[in-house]
Protein backbone atom coordinates (compact mmCIF):
# COMPACT_ATOMS: atom_id res chain seq x y z
CA UNK A 1 0.00 0.00 0.00
CA UNK A 2 2.81 2.32 0.90
CA UNK A 3 4.50 1.50 -2.37
CA UNK A 4 1.29 2.15 -4.24
CA UNK A 5 0.96 5.56 -2.63
CA UNK A 6 4.52 6.38 -3.43
CA UNK A 7 4.06 5.33 -7.04
CA UNK A 8 0.97 7.52 -7.23
CA UNK A 9 2.87 10.49 -5.87
CA UNK A 10 5.70 9.99 -8.31
CA UNK A 11 3.20 9.59 -11.15
CA UNK A 12 1.54 12.89 -10.25
CA UNK A 13 4.92 14.57 -10.08
CA UNK A 14 5.97 13.29 -13.48
CA UNK A 15 2.67 13.86 -15.22
CA UNK A 16 3.05 17.49 -14.26
CA UNK A 17 6.09 17.88 -16.46
CA UNK A 18 4.32 16.64 -19.53
CA UNK A 19 1.91 19.54 -19.33
CA UNK A 20 4.44 22.32 -19.09
CA UNK A 21 3.37 25.54 -20.81
CA UNK A 22 3.75 25.75 -24.55
CA UNK A 23 2.27 29.15 -25.27
CA UNK A 24 4.52 32.17 -24.72
CA UNK A 25 3.70 34.58 -21.92
CA UNK A 26 3.98 38.34 -21.93
CA UNK A 27 7.01 39.48 -19.95
CA UNK A 28 7.25 42.19 -17.29
CA UNK A 29 10.16 43.29 -15.16
CA UNK A 30 10.29 44.17 -11.48
CA UNK A 31 13.48 45.51 -9.98
CA UNK A 32 14.51 45.32 -6.35
CA UNK A 33 16.84 48.09 -5.24
CA UNK A 34 17.54 49.33 -1.72
CA UNK A 35 14.93 46.84 -0.51
CA UNK A 36 12.20 48.45 -2.60
CA UNK A 37 10.36 47.25 -5.66
CA UNK A 38 10.46 49.32 -8.84
CA UNK A 39 7.77 49.82 -10.03
CA UNK A 40 5.77 49.38 -6.85
CA UNK A 41 2.61 49.12 -8.89
CA UNK A 42 2.83 46.89 -11.92
CA UNK A 43 -0.07 47.01 -14.33
CA UNK A 44 -0.66 43.86 -16.33
CA UNK A 45 -3.38 42.60 -18.64
CA UNK A 46 -5.98 40.31 -17.10
CA UNK A 47 -6.85 36.94 -18.57
CA UNK A 48 -3.48 35.90 -19.92
CA UNK A 49 -0.30 34.22 -18.83
CA UNK A 50 2.46 36.46 -17.56
CA UNK A 51 6.12 36.11 -16.92
CA UNK A 52 7.52 38.42 -14.27
CA UNK A 53 11.27 38.82 -14.31
CA UNK A 54 12.39 39.99 -10.87
CA UNK A 55 15.84 41.52 -10.86
CA UNK A 56 17.43 41.88 -7.48
CA UNK A 57 20.08 44.58 -7.63
CA UNK A 58 20.71 44.51 -3.89
CA UNK A 59 23.67 42.71 -2.39
CA UNK A 60 21.28 40.72 -0.21
CA UNK A 61 18.78 37.98 -1.04
CA UNK A 62 15.06 38.69 -1.00
CA UNK A 63 11.97 36.53 -0.92
CA UNK A 64 9.16 37.55 -3.20
CA UNK A 65 5.94 36.55 -1.50
CA UNK A 66 2.32 37.01 -2.47
CA UNK A 67 -0.51 35.12 -0.85
CA UNK A 68 -2.93 36.59 -3.37
CA UNK A 69 -0.89 35.12 -6.21
CA UNK A 70 0.09 31.96 -4.28
CA UNK A 71 3.75 32.57 -5.02
CA UNK A 72 6.90 32.62 -2.91
CA UNK A 73 10.35 32.63 -4.35
CA UNK A 74 13.80 33.53 -3.13
CA UNK A 75 15.80 35.82 -5.38
CA UNK A 76 19.49 35.71 -4.66
CA UNK A 77 21.70 38.76 -4.20
CA UNK A 78 22.48 40.46 -7.52
CA UNK A 79 20.54 37.93 -9.53
CA UNK A 80 17.18 37.55 -11.14
CA UNK A 81 14.34 35.07 -11.13
CA UNK A 82 11.34 34.29 -13.25
CA UNK A 83 7.89 34.09 -11.70
CA UNK A 84 5.08 32.69 -13.83
CA UNK A 85 1.60 33.91 -13.02
CA UNK A 86 -1.83 34.20 -14.56
CA UNK A 87 -4.17 34.14 -16.24
CA UNK A 88 -5.37 36.62 -13.60
CA UNK A 89 -8.84 37.95 -13.04
CA UNK A 90 -9.03 41.74 -12.98
CA UNK A 91 -8.05 42.96 -9.54
CA UNK A 92 -5.25 43.97 -7.21
CA UNK A 93 -2.66 41.46 -6.04
CA UNK A 94 -0.33 42.71 -3.30
CA UNK A 95 3.15 41.27 -2.82
CA UNK A 96 6.04 41.85 -0.41
CA UNK A 97 9.71 41.16 -0.06
CA UNK A 98 9.54 39.00 3.02
CA UNK A 99 13.09 39.68 4.20
CA UNK A 100 12.51 43.44 4.21
CA UNK A 101 8.80 43.72 4.61
CA UNK A 102 8.85 47.29 5.97
CA UNK A 103 10.04 48.77 2.70
CA UNK A 104 9.64 46.07 0.06
CA UNK A 105 5.97 46.25 -0.83
CA UNK A 106 4.11 46.40 -4.08
CA UNK A 107 1.11 45.32 -6.03
CA UNK A 108 0.18 43.88 -9.37
CA UNK A 109 -2.95 45.36 -10.88
CA UNK A 110 -4.61 43.27 -13.56
CA UNK A 111 -6.99 45.07 -15.90
Amino acid sequence: MKKLLFVLLVAVLFSSFSILPAQAAEEFTLTIKNHRFEPETLEVPAGQKLKILVQNQDATPEEFESHALNREKIIGANSSAVILIGPLEAGTYPFVGEFNEDSAKGQIIAR
Binding site: L4, L13, P61, E63, H67, N70, K73, I74
Partner: protein, 274 residues
Amino acid sequence: MLSSAVIVFREVFEVVLILGIILAATRGMPHRKKAIYLGFAGGLLGSFLVAVFMDKISALAEGLGQEIFNAGILLTAAAFIGGTVIWMKRHAHEMKSHFAKVGEAVSRGEIPFLSLSVVIALAILREGSEIALFTYGMLASGQSPASLIVGSLAGLIAGAGLGILLYAGLIRISMKYFFRVTSALLMLLVAGMVSQAMGFLTAAGAFEGMSQTVWNTSWLLSESGLAGQSLKALIGYTAQPSLIQLVVYICTLGGLIAAVRFSGRSPKKEIAPA
Protein backbone atom coordinates in the same frame (compact mmCIF):
# COMPACT_ATOMS: atom_id res chain seq x y z
CA MET B 1 16.45 43.31 16.04
CA LEU B 2 12.66 43.11 16.23
CA SER B 3 12.29 42.34 12.54
CA SER B 4 14.79 39.49 12.74
CA ALA B 5 12.96 38.12 15.78
CA VAL B 6 9.66 38.23 13.90
CA ILE B 7 11.00 36.62 10.74
CA VAL B 8 12.92 33.88 12.54
CA PHE B 9 9.89 33.20 14.71
CA ARG B 10 7.63 32.86 11.69
CA GLU B 11 9.94 30.39 9.98
CA VAL B 12 10.65 28.39 13.15
CA PHE B 13 6.97 28.37 14.01
CA GLU B 14 6.06 26.38 10.89
CA VAL B 15 8.77 23.83 11.58
CA VAL B 16 7.85 23.31 15.22
CA LEU B 17 4.19 22.71 14.42
CA ILE B 18 5.22 19.87 12.13
CA LEU B 19 7.92 18.57 14.47
CA GLY B 20 5.62 18.77 17.51
CA ILE B 21 3.09 16.47 15.89
CA ILE B 22 5.63 14.06 14.44
CA LEU B 23 7.61 13.75 17.65
CA ALA B 24 4.47 13.25 19.71
CA ALA B 25 3.11 10.68 17.27
CA THR B 26 6.29 8.62 17.27
CA ARG B 27 6.54 8.61 21.03
CA GLY B 28 7.42 5.16 22.24
CA MET B 29 9.29 4.26 19.10
CA PRO B 30 12.56 2.71 20.23
CA HIS B 31 15.83 4.32 19.21
CA ARG B 32 13.81 7.43 18.53
CA LYS B 33 16.34 9.72 20.15
CA LYS B 34 19.06 8.68 17.77
CA ALA B 35 16.72 9.26 14.83
CA ILE B 36 15.85 12.72 16.16
CA TYR B 37 19.48 13.79 16.63
CA LEU B 38 20.31 12.52 13.19
CA GLY B 39 17.35 14.42 11.72
CA PHE B 40 18.30 17.67 13.44
CA ALA B 41 21.93 17.37 12.35
CA GLY B 42 20.88 16.60 8.78
CA GLY B 43 18.37 19.46 8.76
CA LEU B 44 20.89 22.03 9.97
CA LEU B 45 23.55 20.90 7.54
CA GLY B 46 20.96 20.78 4.75
CA SER B 47 19.73 24.31 5.55
CA PHE B 48 23.24 25.61 5.21
CA LEU B 49 23.90 23.74 1.96
CA VAL B 50 20.59 24.80 0.38
CA ALA B 51 21.22 28.43 1.37
CA VAL B 52 24.69 28.34 -0.16
CA PHE B 53 23.52 26.70 -3.38
CA MET B 54 20.18 28.50 -3.64
CA ASP B 55 21.20 30.41 -6.76
CA LYS B 56 22.28 27.16 -8.43
CA ILE B 57 19.01 25.46 -7.48
CA SER B 58 17.02 28.42 -8.78
CA ALA B 59 18.80 28.37 -12.10
CA LEU B 60 17.80 24.76 -12.80
CA ALA B 61 14.85 23.97 -15.06
CA GLU B 62 15.06 27.30 -16.87
CA GLY B 63 14.83 29.34 -13.68
CA LEU B 64 12.08 27.25 -12.12
CA GLY B 65 14.37 24.96 -10.13
CA GLN B 66 13.34 26.42 -6.79
CA GLU B 67 9.67 25.59 -7.32
CA ILE B 68 10.43 22.02 -8.37
CA PHE B 69 12.90 21.62 -5.51
CA ASN B 70 10.31 22.81 -2.97
CA ALA B 71 7.69 20.51 -4.44
CA GLY B 72 10.14 17.61 -4.29
CA ILE B 73 10.94 18.23 -0.62
CA LEU B 74 7.25 18.46 0.29
CA LEU B 75 6.36 15.30 -1.65
CA THR B 76 9.25 13.34 -0.15
CA ALA B 77 8.35 14.42 3.38
CA ALA B 78 4.69 13.63 2.71
CA ALA B 79 5.55 10.14 1.43
CA PHE B 80 7.63 9.35 4.51
CA ILE B 81 5.02 10.70 6.93
CA GLY B 82 2.29 8.80 5.09
CA GLY B 83 4.37 5.64 5.38
CA THR B 84 4.84 6.25 9.10
CA VAL B 85 1.09 6.67 9.64
CA ILE B 86 0.39 3.35 7.95
CA TRP B 87 3.18 1.69 9.93
CA MET B 88 1.80 3.14 13.16
CA LYS B 89 -1.63 1.79 12.46
CA ARG B 90 -0.22 -1.65 11.78
CA HIS B 91 1.74 -1.66 15.00
CA ALA B 92 -0.56 0.43 17.16
CA HIS B 93 -1.54 -2.60 19.16
CA GLU B 94 2.04 -3.59 19.86
CA MET B 95 3.06 -0.02 20.62
CA LYS B 96 0.31 0.22 23.19
CA SER B 97 0.87 -3.04 25.00
CA HIS B 98 4.11 -4.73 24.01
CA PHE B 99 6.91 -2.28 23.73
CA ALA B 100 9.36 -5.15 23.66
CA LYS B 101 7.84 -6.44 20.44
CA VAL B 102 8.30 -3.08 18.82
CA GLY B 103 11.92 -3.27 19.87
CA GLU B 104 12.22 -6.57 18.03
CA ALA B 105 10.62 -5.05 14.96
CA VAL B 106 13.22 -2.31 15.00
CA SER B 107 16.11 -4.70 15.25
CA ARG B 108 14.65 -6.72 12.40
CA GLY B 109 14.64 -3.50 10.40
CA GLU B 110 10.89 -3.41 9.96
CA ILE B 111 10.53 0.11 11.21
CA PRO B 112 11.58 2.75 8.76
CA PHE B 113 13.75 4.12 11.51
CA LEU B 114 15.48 6.52 9.16
CA SER B 115 12.20 7.90 7.87
CA LEU B 116 11.79 9.83 11.11
CA SER B 117 15.22 11.38 10.57
CA VAL B 118 14.41 12.20 6.97
CA VAL B 119 11.13 13.90 7.86
CA ILE B 120 12.75 15.96 10.63
CA ALA B 121 15.66 16.92 8.38
CA LEU B 122 13.39 17.99 5.51
CA ALA B 123 11.10 20.03 7.76
CA ILE B 124 14.07 21.88 9.23
CA LEU B 125 15.84 22.30 5.90
CA ARG B 126 12.86 23.96 4.24
CA GLU B 127 12.58 26.87 6.65
CA GLY B 128 16.14 26.71 7.95
CA SER B 129 17.59 27.61 4.57
CA GLU B 130 15.36 30.69 4.50
CA ILE B 131 16.56 31.73 7.95
CA ALA B 132 20.15 31.26 6.82
CA LEU B 133 19.62 33.40 3.71
CA PHE B 134 17.80 36.08 5.68
CA THR B 135 20.50 36.28 8.36
CA TYR B 136 23.20 36.39 5.73
CA GLY B 137 21.35 39.23 4.02
CA MET B 138 21.00 41.18 7.25
CA LEU B 139 24.70 40.81 8.00
CA ALA B 140 25.64 41.78 4.46
CA SER B 141 23.51 44.92 4.65
CA GLY B 142 25.41 46.00 7.73
CA GLN B 143 23.11 45.13 10.61
CA SER B 144 25.07 44.65 13.81
CA PRO B 145 25.69 40.96 14.46
CA ALA B 146 24.86 41.39 18.15
CA SER B 147 21.33 42.68 17.59
CA LEU B 148 20.81 40.11 14.85
CA ILE B 149 21.85 37.27 17.15
CA VAL B 150 19.67 38.54 20.00
CA GLY B 151 16.69 38.98 17.68
CA SER B 152 17.10 35.61 16.00
CA LEU B 153 17.57 33.84 19.31
CA ALA B 154 14.43 35.48 20.69
CA GLY B 155 12.49 34.30 17.64
CA LEU B 156 14.00 30.84 17.87
CA ILE B 157 13.23 30.45 21.57
CA ALA B 158 9.66 31.72 21.19
CA GLY B 159 9.08 29.33 18.29
CA ALA B 160 10.66 26.37 20.04
CA GLY B 161 8.62 27.16 23.16
CA LEU B 162 5.41 26.89 21.17
CA GLY B 163 6.56 23.57 19.74
CA ILE B 164 7.26 22.23 23.21
CA LEU B 165 3.79 23.34 24.35
CA LEU B 166 2.20 21.56 21.41
CA TYR B 167 4.21 18.41 22.09
CA ALA B 168 3.41 18.49 25.79
CA GLY B 169 -0.27 18.97 25.03
CA LEU B 170 -0.38 16.12 22.55
CA ILE B 171 1.34 13.55 24.73
CA ARG B 172 -1.17 14.27 27.48
CA ILE B 173 -3.96 12.88 25.34
CA SER B 174 -5.13 9.63 26.86
CA MET B 175 -3.79 6.45 25.28
CA LYS B 176 -7.29 5.55 24.22
CA TYR B 177 -7.45 8.38 21.71
CA PHE B 178 -3.75 9.04 21.23
CA PHE B 179 -3.21 7.05 18.03
CA ARG B 180 -6.43 8.24 16.51
CA VAL B 181 -5.67 11.90 17.18
CA THR B 182 -2.04 11.78 16.08
CA SER B 183 -2.82 9.74 12.95
CA ALA B 184 -5.55 12.20 11.98
CA LEU B 185 -3.15 15.12 12.48
CA LEU B 186 -0.44 13.39 10.45
CA MET B 187 -2.84 12.56 7.62
CA LEU B 188 -3.98 16.18 7.41
CA LEU B 189 -0.33 17.21 7.46
CA VAL B 190 0.43 14.91 4.53
CA ALA B 191 -2.57 16.12 2.51
CA GLY B 192 -1.54 19.72 3.19
CA MET B 193 2.04 19.07 2.10
CA VAL B 194 1.01 17.35 -1.12
CA SER B 195 -1.40 20.15 -1.96
CA GLN B 196 1.28 22.77 -1.27
CA ALA B 197 3.61 20.81 -3.53
CA MET B 198 0.97 21.11 -6.26
CA GLY B 199 1.01 24.85 -5.62
CA PHE B 200 4.75 24.94 -6.31
CA LEU B 201 4.39 22.81 -9.43
CA THR B 202 1.65 25.15 -10.63
CA ALA B 203 4.07 28.02 -10.05
CA ALA B 204 6.52 26.12 -12.25
CA GLY B 205 3.95 26.14 -15.04
CA ALA B 206 2.38 22.70 -14.58
CA PHE B 207 -1.33 21.87 -14.43
CA GLU B 208 -2.26 24.74 -16.64
CA GLY B 209 -5.81 23.55 -17.16
CA MET B 210 -6.36 23.15 -13.43
CA SER B 211 -4.68 26.22 -12.03
CA GLN B 212 -7.79 28.35 -11.62
CA THR B 213 -8.67 29.48 -8.10
CA VAL B 214 -11.63 27.59 -6.66
CA TRP B 215 -12.54 29.96 -3.85
CA ASN B 216 -11.14 32.86 -1.88
CA THR B 217 -11.40 32.92 1.90
CA SER B 218 -8.75 35.56 2.50
CA TRP B 219 -11.47 37.87 3.89
CA LEU B 220 -12.17 35.24 6.54
CA LEU B 221 -8.70 33.99 7.36
CA SER B 222 -5.58 35.50 5.85
CA GLU B 223 -2.49 33.36 5.38
CA SER B 224 -0.33 36.21 6.69
CA GLY B 225 -1.84 36.09 10.17
CA LEU B 226 -0.69 33.67 12.84
CA ALA B 227 -3.89 31.63 12.74
CA GLY B 228 -3.83 31.33 8.97
CA GLN B 229 -0.15 30.49 9.00
CA SER B 230 -0.66 27.77 11.62
CA LEU B 231 -3.45 26.20 9.63
CA LYS B 232 -1.32 26.39 6.52
CA ALA B 233 1.49 24.47 8.22
CA LEU B 234 -0.84 22.00 9.93
CA ILE B 235 -3.48 21.16 7.35
CA GLY B 236 -2.31 23.02 4.25
CA TYR B 237 -4.77 25.89 4.51
CA THR B 238 -4.68 28.12 1.45
CA ALA B 239 -6.96 31.13 1.19
CA GLN B 240 -7.14 30.74 -2.59
CA PRO B 241 -6.67 27.09 -3.50
CA SER B 242 -6.40 26.09 -7.12
CA LEU B 243 -8.46 23.27 -8.58
CA ILE B 244 -5.49 20.90 -8.77
CA GLN B 245 -4.66 21.60 -5.11
CA LEU B 246 -8.19 20.86 -4.01
CA VAL B 247 -8.48 17.66 -6.05
CA VAL B 248 -5.10 16.36 -4.93
CA TYR B 249 -5.84 17.26 -1.30
CA ILE B 250 -9.06 15.27 -1.29
CA CYS B 251 -7.49 12.32 -3.12
CA THR B 252 -4.49 12.21 -0.79
CA LEU B 253 -6.60 12.37 2.34
CA GLY B 254 -9.07 9.81 1.02
CA GLY B 255 -6.29 7.51 -0.16
CA LEU B 256 -4.52 7.69 3.20
CA ILE B 257 -7.67 6.99 5.18
CA ALA B 258 -8.38 3.99 2.96
CA ALA B 259 -4.78 2.77 3.22
CA VAL B 260 -4.79 3.05 7.00
CA ARG B 261 -8.11 1.22 7.31
CA PHE B 262 -6.87 -1.50 5.01
CA SER B 263 -3.48 -1.94 6.67
CA GLY B 264 -4.99 -1.90 10.13
CA ARG B 265 -6.80 -5.16 9.56
CA SER B 266 -4.11 -7.44 8.24
CA PRO B 267 -1.82 -7.78 11.28
CA LYS B 268 -4.65 -8.90 13.54
CA LYS B 269 -5.22 -11.87 11.28
CA GLU B 270 -1.54 -12.72 11.41
CA ILE B 271 -1.34 -12.51 15.15
CA ALA B 272 -4.61 -14.20 16.06
CA PRO B 273 -3.72 -17.88 15.41
CA ALA B 274 -0.61 -17.78 17.59
